[in-house]
């Protein structure tokens, strides 16, 4: 399945745009998606932490991703 992934904050710069996509086997967990993204975008792994939201909800590492899901990478932001 192909999943469209929205990028926020510094993740936009890391993935090179406001969204990216990933071809994933069905029954992929959020932990697997994170690993996959960090292989593709090593800078993501250096952020120490970032949130993965699925359908506007914080997604725990063991949640499953489905084909119609809207996935977002939300890194921390420091500015003030």
């Amino acid at each position: 399945m192909t999943i469209n992934i929205l990028a926020f904050g510094i993740a936009k710069e890391i993935v090179g745009g406001t969204s990216t996509s990933a071809d994933l086997p069905s029954h992929t967990t959020v932990a697997q998606l994170r690993r996959r993204l960090e292989e593709q975008y090593p800078r993501l792994g250096k952020l120490a932490s970032y949130m993965i939201a699925v359908n506007n909800e914080y997604a725990a590492t063991d949640s499953l991703i489905n084909e119609q899901d809207e996935v977002a990478i939300i890194p921390p932001v420091s500015g003030g």
């Binding site: 952020l47 420091s78 500015g79 003030g80």
Partner: protein, 347 residues
């Protein structure tokens, strides 16, 4: 005394009334950071009649702040933000009490400072202070109204609100840790000034709602605002926190050097300068020395001469402080960070 006419247009709101106004008048709010978020937030909290407002900041006003830090004027460049902010806010509302805290928040003073207030508005510009405020508020059972901005995007949330017999999620539920070396702040990544105003106002809005018990807070969730598309997205985090914060992590401070001291020391050939900015920034302007971007320092891909003390510099003093802290104890030379960065150097 609550001046009825001054507050009449908010007291008239459905679900507000004189009782809500009295609660505002009795409330004590700490605004940490008198910058892009802190200026508008503090102005609205002042206008709305919060009885006691503490402002904590240790920075001075610089010309590059003025586009978004709307309490300040060019004539005030070089003055302490906290002094100027408190003076102007007091003029805006003489009925309230303003308390200036001219301090850098550290693990040593955060508990005492937070302890003096009912609620904290996090308008800081760095992760270290955000985590300190979060952890201190969790330990003292106080809410934090969080706001953060980057380029065209902002985040808002209210952390650590009582929920049943526990508390709503806090900053560490969403971001357990952050790598400051990897995420630029406003000085480096740029920021839309109106975004700072919007997010700062949203924070003040949540403080007013919390104090008066009006409406529904952004707790258990985080609001994301995109100024380019005007889209608001609210991400649900969960009802309760899963963290277990038991103490304040000790902060490590980099040794800093002022622009004045550095200029004098360079004349005597006392320091090796290291520019930790990106190459594009260096090409635009630099003050010499070696060039090792922070990303390389983080991965220890460099060699430093250790015959003299080393001074790291960047645009604002933030990245250079990260560099000096990262290498503390690993390099056989005394390490400094140029306080205020090139911004301070050029003034």
């Amino acid at each position: 005394m609550v001046n009825d006419i001054r507050y009449s247009c908010q007291v008239a709101l459905p679900g507000f009334g004189t009782e809500a106004q009295a609660r505002l008048n009795a409330a004590r709010v700490l605004v940490v950071g008198a910058g892009g978020l802190g200026c508008p937030a503090a102005q609205y909290l002042t206008a709305v009649g919060v009885g006691t407002i503490g402002i904590a900041d240790y920075d001075v006003i610089s010309i590059s702040n003025l586009h978004r830090q709307i309490l300040y004027t060019p004539a005030e460049a070089g003055q302490k933000k906290v002094t100027v902010a408190c003076k102007k806010l007091q003029q805006q509302n003489p009925q309230i009490q303003l308390v200036a805290h001219d301090v850098k928040i550290t693990s040593a003073n955060v508990m005492e400072l937070v302890g003096q207030y009912d609620i904290v508005l996090d308008a800081t510009d760095n992760f270290e202070t955000r985590y300190l405020l979060n952890d201190a508020c969790v330990l003292q059972h106080k809410p934090v109204v969080y706001g953060a901005i980057y380029q065209y995007e902002g985040q808002v949330a209210v952390w650590n609100v009582p929920y049943k017999d526990t508390y709503s999620p806090n900053y560490r539920d969403v971001f357990p840790d952050a790598n400051a070396a990897q995420i630029p702040n406003c000085a480096e990544g740029g920021v839309l000034p109106t975004l700072a105003g919007i997010i700062g106002c949203m924070q003040a809005n949540e403080v007013v709602k919390y104090i008066t018990g009006t409406g529904e807070l952004v707790s258990g969730k985080m609001l994301l605002f995109d100024a380019l598309t005007m889209q608001i997205r609210v991400v649900k985090i969960g009802d309760v926190t899963r963290t277990n914060i038991t103490e304040i992590a000790a902060t490590v401070d980099a040794c800093t050097i002022s622009a004045q001291e550095l200029k004098a020391g360079l004349d005597d050939n006392k320091y090796t300068l290291v520019d930790v900015r990106e190459i594009s920034e260096r090409e635009a302007y630099h003050i010499g020395g070696l060039h090792i971007p922070l990303s390389k320092i983080e991965h220890e891909e460099f060699q430093l001469p250790v015959d003299k003390d080393i001074v790291f510099y960047c645009a604002s003093g933030r990245r250079s402080a990260v560099a000096a802290t990262l290498l503390s104890g690993k390099v056989d030379a005394k390490l400094f960070s140029l306080s205020g960065g090139l911004k301070g150097w050029r003034q």
